[in-house]
Point group: C2
Chain length 385, copies 2
Amino acid sequence: MEKPFYAGKKLGILGGGQLGRMLIQAAIDYDVHISILDPNPQAPCHAYAHTFTTGSLTDYDTVMAFGADLDLLTIEIENVNTEALEALQAQGKEVFPDPKTVRMIQDKREQKQFYARHDLPTSPFVLTDNRAAVLAEKARMPLVQKLGKAGYDGRGVKVLKNEADLAEAFDAPSLLEDFVPFEKEIAVIVARNPQGETAVFPTVEMVFDPVLNLVDYLFAPAQLSQAQVEAATAIALRLVDKLDYVGLLAVEMFALKDGQIWINEIAPRPHNSGHFSIKACGTSQYEQHLRAILGLPMGDTRLLSPAAMVNLLGAPDHRGPARYEGIEDILAIPGVYPHLYGKSETKPGRKMGHVTILGEDLPALTQKIEQVKSSIQVKSLPAAP
Amino acid sequence: MEKPFYAGKKLGILGGGQLGRMLIQAAIDYDVHISILDPNPQAPCHAYAHTFTTGSLTDYDTVMAFGADLDLLTIEIENVNTEALEALQAQGKEVFPDPKTVRMIQDKREQKQFYARHDLPTSPFVLTDNRAAVLAEKARMPLVQKLGKAGYDGRGVKVLKNEADLAEAFDAPSLLEDFVPFEKEIAVIVARNPQGETAVFPTVEMVFDPVLNLVDYLFAPAQLSQAQVEAATAIALRLVDKLDYVGLLAVEMFALKDGQIWINEIAPRPHNSGHFSIKACGTSQYEQHLRAILGLPMGDTRLLSPAAMVNLLGAPDHRGPARYEGIEDILAIPGVYPHLYGKSETKPGRKMGHVTILGEDLPALTQKIEQVKSSIQVKSLPAAP
């Protein structure tokens, strides 16, 4: 008899950051046994897992040793050793999402070619192997150059608008995309279980910090036409179908002025753009991911309230133990909920937590977003006297 | 400078059961350091606390030693050593709710006299010291006899309807109440912070299992007149005001046929009747308790969706490692969310978990409640072959 999920089934998560931390919060309700692997012994998950192993996520032997005793493995970060995950899968362990899919997504060039192969809408592109190849495309500027690998949270991405930018282009295998004259950036989170059942979360609209190139805030439902929402949802469903995907997939997309929806990129895991679901939906993205990888029915993704999410980023010039200046003030605003990630030190621009905001409509949310943003700052604690 | 709650402030919880477990889930978002004391080394909290101490909650020295290193103490069960908590308070530690209040609530006779003293509506009663004194009240039958201390989940309570019941009356200091011809049992959860700010959750209506004398299911909002809801809310607010209370207080009440609301009893902690708030309100009862004892502003208690809660009780004749038979079936019902408590063994009638149900209205909820109740049973796992 297969071990039921609540009877000591051992789930291993590669990565012990905030996504793993919130996944543990959800897993407690399902009484799943959780093991975490993370290189940082003080990672956000360290106090909450049944077992916590300090080690590299990209080292084959470390991942193999971590998985030896587990029944099921998943990830909360893409940058993991997928060869080890495949070997564990070959041993008969369940690994979701499939390591082959994770490997494909790790490489933005592969991702992009996958869209093209399956007629999934995305921006026109070429693949370039070095800076010289980029220069040859200068007539197509403005362009966006993305390193095939190792890009994360805006790193490994350059916007090339003029000759000066071109001189700074990466001299490495890249994806070179036409700059998309988008109206909005949106995201959809979709989940699929091994039985093929799917569920799509409400579409969110993201507003970026132009300096840090990180999401400044987002809100749901997105301000889109019904046709655009349906197009975004259909793209997400087509993606998980074509990928034969199991687990949670975050799909970042562009909404163009002419109404088209194009895929920007995807992430094979819970995602920043899905945090709002913890407070605003019956099923959070974390519970949904668990349901999917445990082979359970998908949960209801209906929005119970319009919601917004503001990232709490480390303030410029502050490094060290974090102080959430103004947190009492934002807690006094009705419908404002902090989620602190427990990172031991703040750094400029580091994701230290997020705030979910519930409100009756977008104007109410917008007012609270501004209040929150003007009231809280993540600084470092003054040194002890 | 006082230690901010997120900067390693050490919160100790007396009791490591399901209420502590759900309190930890909420505390993770506030990055509070949690220590648990519980006599059972496999208590539901054991894997999730920063420190877990196995020891008696009623032993003075054990509680003193547990509290020595902590900044703030609270409880998730009433049956604790309040003398030790008072001594820790005298040392300058924060202890919420106040140990004096916990001690008063521990004794149902004291509780009842408190209501009488403050003109809080409750059933007529007398205090009796032994069975002979109970017999002397036989003309007032039907009566409810409650032991002053040690009653919990229906234990220590007898309904006295006839001579045969009288012969079985407890021969110990008791509270003897007139049987209340109530129409409904309801509950209100209220919270108050040290600044005196209060917040009241939506009123819930409880339906009891007549055999086990435990809540079978409950739903919110209760089917009451606006005047009854206002009366229940006013009683809860008057209670926390008169008690100068800090933390979460659960108030179980009777709604009488004539519209009156009477207090049944109170609990100085998160409560079974507040579990629905995890999924159905922006602020859960657990987050609210934390906000209160940390001196933070009270959270919004608005109901985002009508909700119901079904306790998952151990099936008769089943003892041993638990099997949640039919859990996949109930997960397929939209808006159904399990919360398993991770208790190592099931026993007949033991609270093993609960299920929250979201639905658009009471008829929709009622239908799902029946589906859930007829689909899931907590049995023991078959012995390994």
